[in-house]
Structure formats: C-alpha cells, structure tokens
Subunit: 527 residues, 2 copies
C-alpha cells in the first residue's frame, strides 16, 4: 500500500529526483520502500491547492468538519496492522507503544470533532447596537475566531502518530478551518504516508475541497524552508530540537510578512526534591524516577533531565538508590541511528564536564541502537557556572544537582531556561514554607506537578504543553489539548452586518445554540 | 506640576544628560518644560524594580487590581484642567478631543477593573482526577491564565491618552498582572508625566509594590532599543509606524529569548463601493466620507485611505461630490511639525505617481502646521502595478481606485496588504451577489463594516483592532477591548496540586464564584 510518493492534495505524485529510505533500528537495516522528496513544483502546487481550498474550507460548518475529523480517526483505525507494523519498523518502538499512540491520535481527532461540532470554541461575542446612545450611537459589533489560512506542520521524530501527519497540530488546524501541508518526518515516512492516505480518504468521503491536506516527503531541510518562506503559508507548527525550531522561527520572523511559528522544542523538566520528601520517600521516588527517565528510552520532551535537591545524606541515599534502580531497567531501542548517535555524543560531552560525577552508566553490552541509561551528579555551584550542564541530553539521561541550601536552589531555578514542566516532590506541609521555590519554578515552566512525574501528558482542556522559551517559541499557546486550536485562528469583527448574511455563529437566532457573550453576559439564548 | 523627570518606579529621577522639549503646533513654538531622557542606569533600575515587583504583583487578587485600576482612572480625572491644557499644548488637538480621549482612557481602565474584579477572564479550566481509569489513572489538572512578566509599552503619537501612558496597552497589562515600563512618546512627554503621576499616586494609595510602573522619557530610539533587548522584559506593545513597529519586532525576534511584540501599525482601510450604493446613495457617502477622511486631520489608524469602486458615471459623480465636500471642510492642526512634514512629503510623493489624478487638493493658505486635505483617483490597472500607491499617507488623504470590473476589484483586494478594517458600502440586496468580494476582503482585515465608516473604534468585547500584517504583527490578538488582556498572559497548569495551595481561581470551593470549565462543562459551581 505504501508508494513512497507525496500527496499533493488528493493525488499521489513523485516528480522529484531526491530519494531516501527509512530505517529499522531494531534490525539495524534500511526498510525497502523508496520515498521521493517533494519537488519545488509539487510544493508550489500543494500550496496553491491549499490557498484555493481555504476559500471554501474556512466557511464549512463545524458539523461537517466534525464528520471529516471523525472519519480521519476511523480511517486510521481501519489501516489496522499495516500501520502498526510500519510504525514499529520505522521507529524501533514496541507494538504496545504504537497502539497506545494510535489510540491517543484518534482520541485527539475525535476531541476536536466534538469541539467543532458543539461550536462554542469560536468565542462568539456580540455587542448589540444602541442608536440612542449619546454623544454618538453605538454600532452593532459581533466577533468570532476565524482560521488563519494554509498552515505547515512538521512531523516529530518521537511521535510518529500523535505529533505528526494527523497528530495534534494537524487535527487542531483542520478543526480551526486551516488547510494543512505536512512536512513528513523522514524517519517514519511510511507511517506518514499511510496516515496521509487515511486523511485523503476521509476528505473525499466527507466532501472536503481538494487541497485542504497535502503530505510532502523530504529527507533534508529544503522542503521545509520553501514551505516556511512561502507567502501563502500563514502559520507553522513544529515539534523537535531547539536548533531546528529556532531556525524556522527566525526564517518566519524575517519574511516580508512575518508569520507565527509554534515550535515545541527542548526541555530538561526540572524536578525539585524538598528535604522531607527525600528523607521520608527518597527510595520510592528513586524507583519512580528510574522508570520515568528511561520511559521510551527517554525520548519524550517531558523527560526529567534535571533533579534538584539539598546536599545531605538523604540526597546521597536517593542518588544511590536512583543509580541502583536505573541500571536494573532493560535498555530499549532508540528511534534511529542518528538519534542514538546524538544521544551518545551528547552524553559523552556531558560526562567530561568538570565537576560532573557519573553515578550510573550502563556499560553492559546491548543490541545495536539500544540506549544505555546514565545518571550524573554535580554541585549546585558548578551547575550555576557551567551553562553546558543545562543542555538537554535527549535520551535516558538525568542529572542530580546537589545544592548547598534552599537559596542556591532558588538561584538555580531563577537562572534556568524556560521549560515545559517543573515538578515538586515534597511532603504537603513543607510546600508553604518554600513558596519562593514554587514561585520561581512557576515562572520558568508551563505546567507544575506535585508529587508525580512529568512524563505522561494528559490530553484534556486543562493541559498546558508549552512554556517560556526555549520550551516553546510562544508560551501564550499550548500544543496539547483542545485549546491548541487557538494557535491557528484570529479574532474577526463584523460591524453593522446584515443578520441574514452573518455566519451562523453570530446570527440573532443563534441557530447553532452555542454559548456566546452577548452584551457582556454568557448565554446560549437567541437575541 | 510637570518636572520633566522620569518615574523610576515611584521615584522621580533625572540622571541622564540628553534633554528635549515638546512642541505646540498651534502656536508653532516649543513648550517650556525641559525633559530629561532616561539614562542606562535608570532603565536598568526600572526593569529591576519591575522584575522584583512582579513576584508579588502577579499573585495580587483581581479585587485589589480593580481598586488600583479604578484609582488610576480617578487620579487621571483629578488632574483636571492641567491635563487637558497640557494635552492641547503638546498636540494641537482641540479641547473636545482631549476630553473625549480622557473619557475613553478612564472608561478603558474601569472596564479592565470590572473584568479582573469579576475574575472569569483567567479561563479557569479544571479536569478532575480519576484514579480508577485504565490503563493509567487520570491526574488532576487545573489551568488558568497567568501574567507574562514585565512588559514595555510605547506611547503612540496620535493617542496621547488612550494609547499611551495609561492607555489600552498599559491598562490591559496591569490588569493581567504585568508590571509596565512606558517609553513615553516625546511629542507629549508632559501629558505622559502627568498621567504617570496619576498611576504612581494610585499605586501608592492602593498598596501596589514599587516598580509595577515606570515612565521613561526619550526623544530618540536608544531607550526603546535598550528596553526591547533587555532579557527581563517579556513582551512589548507598540502603536505607530510600520517602520518603527517592524524594527522593534525584528529586534525582539532576534533576542536569545525571543519575545512577543504586539505592534499596531499602518493601515489604509479599504472601502468598497458597490454599484447600486454609488448610484442610489453616492452623494450621502461622499459627504460622510469627506468627514471621515478629515476627522482629526486624518491622524487615525482607521482613516479610510483607499476607496474602491467600479468605473462608471456614478463613480465619477461620487468622486466629484467627495472632492467638492472635502474642500469645504476647515483644515485643522496636525500633531507636530514632523507629522505634517511627513504628510506633505508623502502626499507629494503620491501626487507625482504616474497615472494618479488629483481631484481635490486644498490650496488655500492655512495656519502653520494645519493639514490640507487631498483626494486622488487612479485606474485599477495602475493601482495593481504600482505598489507605491498602496502606501499609507498619514493625514487627511484618500485615493479612489476606479476598477474596470468586479473581477479587477477582487484582484486588487486579494493583492492588498493586511489592514485593520475593510468597509463595504452596498444596498443590502447586492451583498450576496458579491460574496467573493466580501470573502476576499475578510481575509485581509480584522474588522469588516457594512455601510459605515472605519473611523470610530468602539471599546467593547466584540471589537477587533488588529489584522493581518502589516496592520499588526500578530493578528491573533486585538489591541482594543477587554480581550486585549490576552496579549500579556500565558496558560499555566497545576497537576495534582494540593487544593489549599492552589490560586483561588482553581480551588474546589470556587471562592471567587467565577465561571470555569469543569470536566468539560462551563459552571460557576464549587466542586
């Protein structure tokens, strides 16, 4: 079923000359199918189709969009074993993970389907006219959120389903009414093509205009650069490295018309161990964190890469326990030789930093492409003065910082780069005493966790996945949960517009029965 | 009362060496007071105070913030005649305008006071835990909007009160919980200092931390550049020229940690005259638009600088009537010799464009610094090929484009830069026939108006003041209305946080009685 071609709108196409293959890290060999990179002509065509499709897609009803999104979910499920097998062959991840991620992906699609079917997400707001107001009459103003236009979504290496072709960014953008052009991730181009075929099937079945979705293969950076620089592209979604995300952000900011880039990038997800928690529950936390650090070979953006505690015997015992626990865990396959190559390089660079002590470093022989976990520790003063120690080591790696005292712990947090998450492990009674620590941490993160692990990102309205730079390029938005739709829309006002020509969301009759702010009051009544 | 000094937090300060004076364009002479530019030491101090103040200010209750904002409004009113006189002496604008703008400014402050007192604006969202969920238990997640940190607001030349020191940007940012450092506009530094003194008075009376507000004088660009580049500044608000706004945007995007710049910049606010409206009501519209174009000497960002119609006798008659009406209007004083200098230069550059015909150009002698209105006209094909004709001429100037047909009119709209507003003048029955025109225009603007004028920006929740670039740098936000608070906040999640330590907005008891999304349902009930 996989052709290796691009979807330019609903049509398979392979006009380009550059080809590549995906790689199976479990058997350390290339997969068979040859993928053709999108050519400039195909890129241009995909964007033109998207621009044309936008004219009708942006006004399609929430009900029809929900049918489309639900049908994508159905079609992805209908791909059955082929999708799971392809996923595993292109990532080295186990079948359970593939199935879990598929479940999450279709859940996201169906959540957005429900959101747009219900319809209140457009934040309709109506201020009725008052012709008798003095000194000047009050006009009638009605506002709602409308789609930005064609957007580009970059597939993520570490989430071939949930943050790639039909992942969170795509689902949110389609729900908003934006055509999507996916720059497929080269490590799982086959998985991408299968999912793309599901989207195209769903689009055709539910009568969506050709061009609301395209899937472009590429193994290098050229396709992505062309897409981000194209004047008809109005926003970009990206999940990946700081280097990659920042490059796209810079490119977008330097366009004649700058566009928003929502890049979810690196994070070391600091964990603060308060003294009583270490003393009373250090062993439990050691076990829990050994699992969290190695979950999915540490290939999660919420992987806890930094643990901050106060230097004392309890912390020494915790480090000891964490080291013992983590080496018991069976190593697992990483996504790609490049990923494990980077992991080993970055780990090696870290281990030679002055003052860093390696307390666990799995040395036993493992299968090719399997990631070996490591735990390091360092003094707080050393961490403060060496910025290299703040870098993310993407993989099963973590560092315990032994602070002299609470003041130093706070200083470290204040100087940390922006993060997706921060965690506090504490006895409840010691939390109020350390409000400074909590406040400082809140300022650096998008989500704060009490007595838990940062890995495991619940998909729900109250989730924030994003944070101060460099966790993301715009902390005002989340990448996970239904509110991620806000990245792809802008508010739009109609002034004195004839009622019968307004969108249904804003008509007096409120035909959709949505919740609206009418003259300052939330209501689902008609006017 | 005016000292010419900066407010560094609550303290007047003038350590700098550069001085300047404001100018009274009505009498064409400098005003007396000498203002001292903020020095680097003062800039640094203002930012450090703001950073320190943020630690407490961000957690201050909505009730207390509302007292503060209302008190600012009271203190501004208490400035009485001195404020109005200073305003007029620094802008050449009439007393009526000064009083109207003061009314708008205090209305904005009180609107934000009401918003934060009520409290639901934080978009509290709660997803309760489900320990029994399989395969993994569901955590408790609670989200709300929190302040970004210290922000910088640039005063606008054309709104000395409503979009400067205590204007919309400042009111919104303070309401959000962000300390504000104002880069005062040099043309009305005295007005700025008076309003700053009102803010400081209000802050002291209501017990706000020192540093939540500073007011910095500057006549050049150095102070602004230092502020935007400072690592502790987290966002920027700006109202002004495309050149200035884009320069700040670029600077902010190139920082190690990029920050959002919300710049509201130029706009020519296209007006589409559909054939029946011109035929039946051309004379009325000519009169209405003569007034709109010259309102406040055309010094509004919503000034209608472009009128698009279909070439025929009716349009010729409209142009004739508009020309006749506009020259009847008495010219008025512009804000500053620089503003009128730019107006005359830009108008002159426009008038020599090939194919442009000048149909009205007030030539009678007027007082120094008074702006003379002009109307020009050009063929659609000429407008399409000469990008110079798309530029804003800030002042009482407009251009009527005579299109060959509806297709050309649509093409022109499609090729227009982003705009704050678009207006359709039409008989209601001809609107559905021209859905293409309406759709195209919607895509280029933030607000669309039916049978009205773009000038006059209602301050209400349903207003959108902002639009695709270059109308603003981020069309996802509005600069007017209570939703402008969204520019200065980010969502933040608490996971499994102890109830008693949550902010009041997220506690089970809902002590503030705000509307929250609880497990997917909007409610103001407790949990």
């Amino acid at each position: 079923m996989i052709t290796g071609k691009n979807y330019i709108g609903n049509v398979l196409s392979s006009l380009g000359k550059v080809t590549f293959k995906t790689f199976n890290p479990q058997i350390n060999a290339e997969n068979e199918i040859v993928f053709t990179e999108a050519s400039n002509i195909e890129i241009e065509k995909a964007i033109n189709l998207a621009t044309e499709a936008f004219k009708t897609f942006k006004t399609i009803s929430g009900e029809k969009k929900s049918l489309f999104l639900n049908e994508i979910a159905n079609e992805i499920e209908a791909l059955g074993d082929e999708l799971i097998t392809t996923y595993c062959n292109e990532t080295g991840l186990p079948e359970g993970r593939a199935m879990g991620e598929r479940g999450r992906t279709v859940f996201q699609l169906r959540s957005f389907a429900n959101l747009v079917k219900e319809g209140s997400w457009v934040e309709a707001s109506i201020d009725t006219a008052n012709p008798k107001r003095t000194p000047i009459p009050k006009v009638d103003l009605r506002k709602m959120l409308v789609a930005l236009g064609p957007v580009v979504v970059f597939g993520a290496s570490n989430f071939p389903l949930a943050y790639s072709t039909a992942g969170g960014d795509t689902a949110a953008a389609l729900a908003a009414g934006c055509p999507v052009i996916v720059k497929s991730h080269p490590m799982h181009a086959g998985t991408g093509e299968l999912v793309a075929s599901a989207i195209i099937q769903a689009a055709e079945k539910t009568g969506m205009p050709n061009g609301i979705f395209s899937n472009l293969n590429s193994s290098g950076i050229d396709v992505g650069v062309s897409l981000v620089k194209h004047p008809q592209v109005k926003a970009v979604g990206f999940t990946g490295s700081i280097k990659g995300g920042r490059a796209l952000y810079n490119m977008a900011a330097q366009r004649p018309e700058p566009i928003p880039v929502f890049a979810e990038m690196g994070s070391i997800n600091p964990v603060v161990l308060l003294p009583k928690a270490v003393k009373n529950k250090g062993k439990n936390w050691a076990q829990t964190y050994a699992n969290s650090i190695t979950l999915g070979s540490g290939q999660f953006c919420t992987n806890p890469g930094l643990i901050l505690g106060i230097k004392n015997t309890d912390l020494t015992n915790f480090i000891q326990a964490l080291s013992e626990e983590i080496v018991k865990i069976e190593p697992s396959c990483m996504l790609h030789p490049n990923i494990i190559g980077n992991y080993e390089n970055n780990k090696a660079k870290m281990l030679i930093q002055k003052g860093l002590q390696t307390v666990a470093n799995l040395s036993k022989e493992v299968s090719t492409n399997y990631g070996r976990q490591a735990i390091t520790t360092v003094e707080g003063s050393t961490f403060l003065t060496n910025i290299n120690l703040h870098q993310e080591v993407f993989g099963p790696f973590s560092m315990v910082v032994q602070c002299e005292n609470i003041a130093q712990l706070e200083e470290i947090i204040l100087k940390l780069e922006g993060q997706l998450t921060g965690t506090i492990l504490a006895e409840t009674e010691e939390l109020p005493k350390h409000q400074n620590i909590v406040n400082a941490l809140q300022n650096r993160v998008g989500r704060i966790i009490f007595n838990g692990v940062p890995t495991g990102v619940e998909v729900c309205p109250s989730m924030v996945h994003g944070g101060p730079y460099p966790a993301s390029t715009d902390s005002r938005f989340t990448a996970v949960g239904i509110n991620s739709i806000k990245r792809w829309v802008r508010p739009f006002s109609f002034q004195n517009w004839p009622n019968e020509l307004l969108p249904n969301e804003l008509k007096n009759e409120n035909p959709l029965g949505i919740t609206r702010l009418v003259d300052g009051k939330l209501t689902s009544s008609k006017i």
